[in-house]
Symmetry: C2
Subunit: 308 residues, 2 copies
């Protein structure tokens, strides 16, 4: 039986002032997924990791994404998916997006790449709906396209790749649970126009900084006056991490996705390592367990591991 194995990256969505519209892919951690054609109708899920994710296709992120693809395929009976995750669900670095994006890209390879990348984003968003109740693309798009992606609009889908300079990323995942749905519920439905203006000044500055490869402008623009003040309350140590990481040389950073992970961007690898030690110091002091990742932006997105 023919099968395709892919490596599917973690992603950082929102990116401080880019709530719901910006994301980037990471080189670490990475999930591994294998998809093959199956005579069993629907999607058969086999989990090889210890996360106890649902195996019923409709309730599984990869499963829901593959079912959406199957809906548009007349001649295919079913898929079998073997999932081996390294990205912890609920960490805020796009675990569900990696599952959904990896599954649809692997399946598309099996089918001779008949679907466009935009089609794949569309299918994968069904997985996001299972995970968080909302079809959002700010993790899916960078997982599929690689690099830094702007989602200008979801309906109609309009994804723009932004050619960023070399950036090093440090992530800390404090071991507490923040449910995406909770993190969404605490947001106010209305915001002050003057805050919205500040926010769009910053997102405009961040996009300009990325495209002009202007590190100082990137740093100055990494400011969020709308979402972070509300959501950061759910993350112990957030303010201290942010302040001390900036003092240690980070350009800036904030909540990854809806948290609890915090990410920081740096110009170079030494700074990213320095930032990691600051993060460790803060959470050691608080006495909260954590994981860290020191990595770079993943330019390729989901990639083939092996194809037989």
């Amino acid at each position: 039986m023919k099968e395709v194995t892919v490596l599917s990256p973690a992603t950082v969505a929102n990116v401080v002032c880019g709530f719901d519209i910006l994301g980037f892919a990471l080189n670490d951690p990475i999930d591994e997924l294998t998809v093959s054609l199956s005579d069993t109708p629907g999607v058969t899920i086999i989990n090889k990791d210890d996360y106890h994710l649902p195996t019923k296709a409709e309730d599984n992120v990869s499963g829901a994404a593959l079912l959406a693809m199957l809906d548009e395929l007349k001649e295919i009976t079913g898929f079998e998916l073997v999932s081996n995750k390294n990205i912890k669900p609920g960490s805020g670095i796009g675990s569900s997006a990696a599952s959904a994006a990896g599954a649809v890209i692997a399946a598309n390879h099996l089918l001779g790449n008949r679907f466009s990348r935009e089609d794949l984003v569309r299918f994968a968003m069904f997985g996001e709906k299972v995970a968080s109740g909302v079809k959002h693309a700010d993790n899916i798009a960078p997982a599929i396209y690689g690099g830094v992606t702007l989602i200008r609009s979801i309906f109609p889908l309009d994804i723009v790749s932004l050619d960023a300079p070399e950036l090093h990323v440090t992530v800390v995942h404090p071991q507490i649970e923040v449910r995406t749905s909770d993190a969404r519920q605490i947001l106010k439905q209305r915001v002050l126009l003057k805050d919205a203006i500040k926010q769009w000044g910053n997102i405009a500055g961040l996009v300009a900084g990325l495209l002009k490869h202007d590190y100082d402008l990137i740093g100055r623009s990494l400011e969020d006056v709308i979402i972070e003040p509300v959501r950061s309350i759910l993350i112990p140590g957030f303010d201290e991490v942010k302040l001390k990481c900036r003092e240690a040389g980070a350009l800036g950073g904030g909540i990854s996705g809806s948290g609890p992970s915090i990410f920081m961007l740096s110009r170079n690898g030494e700074s990213a390592v320095q930032v990691e030690s600051v993060m460790k110091e803060v959470y050691n002091k608080i006495g909260l367990a954590y994981h860290t990742h020191v990595t770079t932006i993943n330019m390729e997105g989901v990639k083939l591991k092996a194809s037989y």
Copy 2:
């Protein structure tokens, strides 16, 4: 007596989705201002045009800007300003910014360019305060820097020049009065978060489109879900002008500043002329007097006409 004459351009602020943060300069219309040193304390104003603008320095846009500069100059007694305006006050294409920016740049030349461009923006904003009650920089910055400018932040001032592709601009000024203060008052103080997200998706797309020289992306991003729906009600014919100009080939456009002028961007000169004829058609049908300008983006900003 030493004197400096400058040409100071009209500007388009807000630029659809860039409310309060984006602006660009035009090659037409252009004001002419001459500044000289004077032994009379303060600022002496001589108006050579028919706009009957105030001659008391505190109440005059150029005067207030020059007074702010004088405040930081110990050895200078006064300035004399001769103003010859072509940009009609109240048209929405930065008439007051041209007066303020032109005056401070001319004075700075007289003084051997001792002030930075950021200082000049700071002085000129005192003129904007006289004109509209608010210190805003989205006309001042492009008038002084030229091209397309992003004002990421006003306090502290953070101006970013955006290297845009060749763009042709058509402006129509229907001869009605919209006071900037009225146009500001009708805005709601709070906006829906979901609308704010759309808006920052569009401003991010517009900045990316400008820097990537991607005309289609610029066109798709020229959408304003927050300010335009409220303010366009004050401008007769707005919806029809916008729709028909797009049909005629314009990339897009909207209210210039707080109106009543409407601007449209085009890829080339032929399209800009076509757009002008559509604008004329609409206002001829409505029976409202108007002026039009077909021009391009001014890359230099205020420039020296002659120096003696």
